[in-house]
């Protein structure tokens, strides 16, 4: 005999009056018309922002940083087609970007052919080569997701990175392959001599690639990628081979990774082994996870945040990778949804109209925490300087303050700031937690 089930709190008896009044086609229509504006708005805004950014940040180094961001965005979105959408963890995805990039460099060096194509379409070739390689590797690696897939991706990554010193004709050995983008056929008179022209080429490709990848996630095979990620066995019993679904995702991801490699080739006019080694593969995993794998726009945020860390932070400290590592660790441990997840957590709060109630508790906790962390960073920097600074050079500058790292006073000050900052944050944290649970619950004061 069956047992009463405590998990069910609502009786599930048929409630015919509600069923009859609900027209099955109506919710769909309502959703469709309402969401059109909502779906288009972010794309229009992003395109406008990309178009006017160079007018705000005019110098060349800013353009370089923004181009780097764009390339990373395309790569991270491609990577998330595997990780977030398809549930495949790859440790060697840089090879598809790298091979695409190398192919583009070789096309640049085929002067007869290169002079007949506009530079704008060069990333397509990168994409095709990335896709070709993904088809070969995917043919055997997508049989399983999980550990087997991860191990194969790592192995193939290592293998191709090792090839870069063996197959010198293609990978150019240790010097890599360099070329000149300006030999391409001028595109409406533009020869891409200036950084700003390259910026708009890259930005255009970001919008097109991101839009295509977004649309992909809305196609039957893109939807089934989610289904296979969640439950491969169930997908099989719906008529889909989970292996083929994974294969198509993998190939599409290889294409866009190749596009990002092509954009890299155009920007830097040189590709080396570094573009496809395991370290680069690791970084794109880090970027994607930092941004958040659960949302389409997560990798975009991750790419922007990481590139800023990499470029801006590395100007002020040699230890930037150390801080990036800590950030990644704390993301994995405390915010597995990444930055996008952190942002989207606040959507219900705004919907309930309680966002203002969070401002004060946030300031009370996050401000002291930030000051405490700055103190901690100062301690790290001082230790580094004390151990590795040149002999006799005891002066150092941290947070706009110059002092002698070999005296006791700065250590005491930094230590005190750390303790007080983090101490206050610890005291105020329960109040923030309470304010949060209040702000995420419907009803109550407001």
């Amino acid at each position: 005999m069956t047992v009463s089930d405590p998990r069910t709190d609502i009786p599930k008896g048929a409630r015919p009056e509600e069923q009859i009044t609900t027209d099955p086609s109506k919710p769909a229509q309502r959703m469709r018309s309402g969401s059109l504006v909502l779906t288009l708005a972010p794309w229009v805004i992003a395109s406008v922002v990309l178009a006017i950014l160079p007018m705000v940040f005019t110098n060349n180094s800013a353009l370089t940083i923004m181009n780097q961001m764009s390339i990373t965005i395309v790569f991270a979105l491609a990577y998330n087609m595997l990780l977030g959408q398809g549930g495949m963890l790859s440790f060697g995805h840089a090879v598809y970007a790298g091979v695409g990039g190398f192919a583009c460099m070789h096309i640049m060096n085929m002067s007869d052919f290169f002079s007949t194509i506009p530079l704008v379409i060069l990333p397509v070739f990168g994409g095709l080569f990335g896709m070709g390689l993904a088809m070969i590797v995917g043919a055997f690696s997508t049989r399983n997701a999980g550990t087997v897939f991860a191990m194969i991706s790592l192995g193939v990554g290592e293998l191709i990175a090792a090839c870069s010193v063996i197959i010198v004709a293609f990978f150019g050995g240790e010097e890599g392959v360099s070329g000149d983008r300006t030999y391409a056929q001028p595109f409406f008179g533009v020869e891409f001599l200036q950084q700003i022209e390259v910026y708009y080429l890259t930005a255009g490709w970001v919008v097109v690639s991101a839009a295509l990848m977004y649309l992909w996630s809305r196609t039957p095979v893109g939807r089934m990628a989610n289904a296979v990620r969640d439950n491969p066995e169930r997908a099989e019993f719906l008529g889909y081979s989970s292996r083929w679904v994974r294969f198509y995702s993998f190939v599409a991801s290889g294409f866009f990774a190749g596009v990002s490699g092509g954009l890299f080739a155009i920007n830097y006019e040189i590709l080396t082994e570094e573009n496809l080694n395991t370290a680069s593969s690791g970084i794109i995993l880090l970027v994607t996870f930092l941004g958040g794998v659960g949302f389409f726009f997560g990798p975009i945020i991750g790419a922007i945040a990481f590139t800023l860390l990499q470029t801006v932070l590395s100007l002020s400290t040699e230890l930037w990778a150390f801080y990036a590592g800590i950030l990644f660790l704390s993301t994995v441990m405390f915010f597995p949804g990444g930055l996008a997840g952190l942002l989207m957590m606040h959507v219900p709060v705004f919907k309930l109209g309680k966002a203002s109630s969070l401002i004060k508790p946030y300031l009370m906790t996050l401000l002291p925490a930030a000051i405490g962390l700055m103190g901690l960073a100062a301690l790290v920097e001082m230790t580094f300087h004390y151990r590795h600074g040149a002999t006799g050079d005891n002066e150092m500058t941290v947070f706009w303050t110059t002092f002698d790292s070999h005296t006791l006073m700065p250590w005491l000050v930094a230590g005190a700031i750390t303790l007080i900052g983090l101490g206050i944050a610890k005291v105020t944290a329960p109040a923030l937690r309470e304010a949060w649970s209040e702000a995420t619950t419907a009803g109550g004061a407001s």
């Binding site: 009463s4 709190d9 069923q19 196609t219 008529g239 081979s241």
Partner: protein
């Protein structure tokens, strides 16, 4: 006589030395509602897994509409019109209820692995999925993640996913397991409604469900079918009473 919807001949399965299914011959006609009952460990779920190619049989054949299924993958068998549910709820928990059903419709509506169609644009998909949701009374839960539904609702959703693709042979593995009486009645009505005109094969422990739904019953004990027939005949069979029904009926009272 027309070809049976499903025909098993000499089906056997062993895991190592343990023989779980020891030679099963069974023929299930078109539009028949057939229940497989038996004590725990009799091999009912294994039998289901053999038919749907989740496991490969050690010997014997499975024929769907007269066609041998040997060597086919689960997804190929599904495309031939056989669909199943699972004993442990097997849905896509992170996707919305609507998405769950829509995914189940994709193949049967001919979308295959296409990446040139947008699923939101297809009226047939949206309306088809909503029609199924209406049938299983989950229209109100349409946009919730499937994992947040109550247990009975998830079971109903699983039945919805199973029938959505329009398969004509439906296999349900313990659809009412772990449910209260009201929920069991609800699911039983639901099964009757959505499998009308189709061949239904189900494993079930709840005797009231079995005798209420099934046209014929097979009793599986230690990997062998000891009786097959109309509910009344099976109930009267002495071997069945000894092996299984007696104990089950006792437990019921």
């Amino acid at each position: 006589m027309s070809t049976p919807a499903l025909e098993l001949t000499g089906l056997k399965k062993s895991f190592g030395k343990a023989e779980i299914i020891r030679g099963i011959d069974l023929s299930i006609g078109k539009a028949e509602r057939h229940a497989v009952i038996g004590p725990n460990g009799a091999g009912k779920s294994t039998l289901f897994n053999l038919i749907t190619a989740r496991f490969a049989p050690s010997a014997g054949t499975v024929k769907l509409h007269g066609e041998d299924l040997a060597g086919l993958e689960p997804f190929q068998i599904n495309r031939k019109g056989l669909s199943r549910s699972f004993q442990i709820t097997n849905i896509f928990p992170a996707m919305t209820v609507f998405e769950n059903v829509r995914c189940a419709l994709l193949w049967s509506q001919g979308y295959k692995y296409s990446f040139w169609n947008l699923v939101n644009r297809s009226r047939e998909l949206t309306e088809g999925a909503d029609r199924i949701l209406d049938q299983i009374n989950l229209l109100e839960r349409r946009n919730l993640p499937a994992g947040t539904l109550s247990y009975a609702e998830q079971r109903a959703l699983e039945i919805g996913i199973t029938i959505a693709g329009g398969a004509d042979v439906i296999m349900l593995d313990e659809p009412t397991a772990g449910m209260s009486n009201t929920e069991t009645d609800y699911i039983t009505d639901l099964i009757l409604k959505v499998t009308a005109g189709k061949t239904l094969i189900m494993v079930e422990h709840d005797m009231s469900v079995v005798f209420g739904l099934a046209d014929r019953i097979s009793v599986l004990v230690y990997g062998e079918i000891i009786a097959t027939g109309k509910p009344a005949d099976v109930r009267a069979d002495a071997r069945v009473q000894e092996a299984y029904l007696g104990a089950a009926l006792e437990a019921e009272h």
